[in-house]
Amino acid sequence: MEDSKLVRVEGLRKWFPLGRGLFERNQSAIHAVDGVNFTIEAGRSLGLVGESGCGKTTTGRLLTRLETPTAGHIYMDDPALGAVDLAALKGKQLKMFRKRVQFIFQDPYESLNPRRTVYDTVAEPLVVQGNRALVEREERVAQLLETVGLTPASSFMFRFPHELSGGQRQRVAIARALIIEPAFVAADEPTSMLDVSIRTGVMQLMLELADRLGVSYLYITHDLAVARYMCQEIAVMYLGKIVEQAEAEELLANPLHPYTRALLSAVPIPDPRYRRKTIEISGDVSRPIDPPSQCRFYERCPVREERCATNEHPPLEDKGAGHFVACYLV
C-alpha cells in the first residue's frame, strides 16, 4: 500500500438477511452496503453523504468493526505491520487494532453511560487496552479534557452525563475517541443533535484536532454543506453503493451523477435572494432488498436510458482528476 494511504476499502459488502429459518434457501437480504470502494489518505478526511437508508452509517460501523463485513476488505495501514485487513481480524488481534480506529456517535445523550462519571467514560479505552497505570490514566484524562475545551479538567472529571449539556457531552465523546491516539475516526452525524450555536464549536474542535493530531475522519452526514466544511473529499452514496466521489469543491461545483445533481438542487440555501431550480426525481428512497442487477438509480433517474436497465450497475470510474462517477451517461 502506498505510503500516504491510510485506509483502503475494497468490495465492502454487508447484507442483512430477512426472513427466518436456517434452512431457507433463497433468503432475502437487505443489501445495506453493496460493493463499496474508496481510499482515505493520512491527514485527510472523507465525507460520506446520502439520504437515510443509503448505507453510510453501516459503512462507518463496518470500518470500526461494530459490524462484521459479509465480504470485502478494509486495509488499514499500520506503521509496524504494513497493510492489515481489518475485515479479517479476530480476537486479540482485533482488540489490538481497535487502538487505531475509533467512532463518535450521533446522540450525545445516549452514547455516555449515565451511571459512569466523565473520568470513567474517557478512561475506558485505556482501561480496556490495559496499558496504563492509574496515575498516568488520570493525567491523560485531564489532558484530553483540556484539549477538547472542558476546562478546568478537575471540575469536569467527576461529573455525570446528566450534569452536562449536549455540547459538553459530545466533547466528552470526542475525548474518549481520541485518548488512545487513533489514526482514523468515523463520526456519525456528531453535531446533528446539538443546538446550532453549539454545533460550530464542536465542528471547529474536530477540525482543529484533525490538524494537530493528524487524525483522519470518515464524516458521515446527510448535510452536504457540513460535509463540505469538514472534509477535503466527498463521496455520495445511494442504496448501498457509492455513485460519485471527488474533492469537495469539485463535487459541489461540477456534479456529474444525476443523483448528486438532484440532491444538490434540493438543498435549501440560506439566502432569500436565491431561487433555486430543483431537479425533480420521483418516488421515495426504498430499502435495497434483493436489488435487481441494473443501475440502482434507474427507477428514479430523470435521464435514464435503455442501457441503464439492461446492463449491471455501472462501475465507479475516474472521469478525470480524481473525480469518480458510476454512470453510463457521463
Partner: protein, 342 residues
Amino acid sequence: MQMVDTLLSTQDLVAPVRDPVLTVRDLTMHYRTRQGWVSAVDNVSFTLHRGESLGLVGESGCGKTSIAISLMRLLPDNARILSGEIWLGDEELLSLSAAEMLRVRWKGIAMVFQAAMNSLDPVYRVGEQIVEALQTHFPTMRVAQARARVGELFQLVGLDPVLMDRYPHEFSGGMRQRAVIAMALSCKPAVIIADEPTTALDVIVQDHILKELRVIQEQLDMGMIYISHDIAVIAEVSDRIAVMYAGRMAELTDGESLFHRPLHPYTAALMGAFPSIKGPKRELTTLPGEPPDLLCPPPGCRFHPRCPRATECCLSRRPPFEERFPGHYVACWHPLEVRNGG
C-alpha cells in the same frame, strides 16, 4: 440538465402587505417545574397578515414551540399564560372559554406538530382520522361528504386518494407528514402553524413538501407560521422572519433585510453558523457559552452573556422591541450598523 439559480432583486422579494389575520400582543407564558418557574415566552408581540408566511427561527428552548402551543391554547398542566392578547380576526383567543376555544381550534387556527408522524393513531386508518376531525367541527357533515373532502385534501398535499383507507404504518415518513398536513388543513383554517414539519425528513422529500406548502398556502390564502431551527429552510419558506432567543423576540423583518442587513448580533451569529454549499468556503462564527437557563435568565438583555457588543446597560435594562426601520423590528441597545441603507 442545467441547474439554474436565479438571483432576485430586492423588488421581487417584497410582497404587498395585506390585512392582519393574527395579532399577538405582549404574550407571556411560563412553566412550573420541580425547581421553579421557567420563563418560556416573555412579552412577545407580532402580526401575521393574510396569505403571509412568517418564519419563527431559533434554537431549542428559545420559545418558538411554546408560542405555538399558546396560540392553540394546547398548554400542558404545568404551563400558565401570564398576560397578553391573541387576536384571531376579531376574536380574542385568551378570553374564550375552553368550550369556545374548541370551536376555534382547527377551524380558525390549526397546527402541524413536531414529529407529526407520531400524531397519527396507529390503529385507525388515516382517512378515518381526518373524517373524525371534520365531523367534530362540522356536525352536519355526512360521512360521504367528509370522505370526498378528504380525497380533495389528499390530492392537495400530493397523496393518492386511494391511500385514505390505509393504516399509518403503511405510509413512509414523507407521506405521513403530508397526511398530517392534510389533517391540519381539513377545516380550512385561516392560520396554520407548522412546527418543524420537515426536520426528520430527507432533503429531497423536504424539498417537495416545502414547495407544496407554499402552493397550498397560496391556494387557500392562509396565513402560515413556520417554525424551524434551520435558517436555510426558513429563508426559502418565509416572507417575514422572527428570530427568537431565550423566550424573547430578538428581531423581526422580511427575509431579504434579515439576511443582508441584520440588526441583532444574535441574528448575525446565527446566520454565520450555517455552512452553505454555495459561495466560497468560509469560516463559521462561533458563539461562546450556551443558551441561558430559563429558570433564572440573565437580567437585562438575555443575550448579553454571549454578546460581543454588550455594555453596562445591556446587563441591567431590557432593550425594547421597536421598529428601527420601516417593517424592521429589533430588541437591542447596540444593533449592528446598516451598510446599504434601509
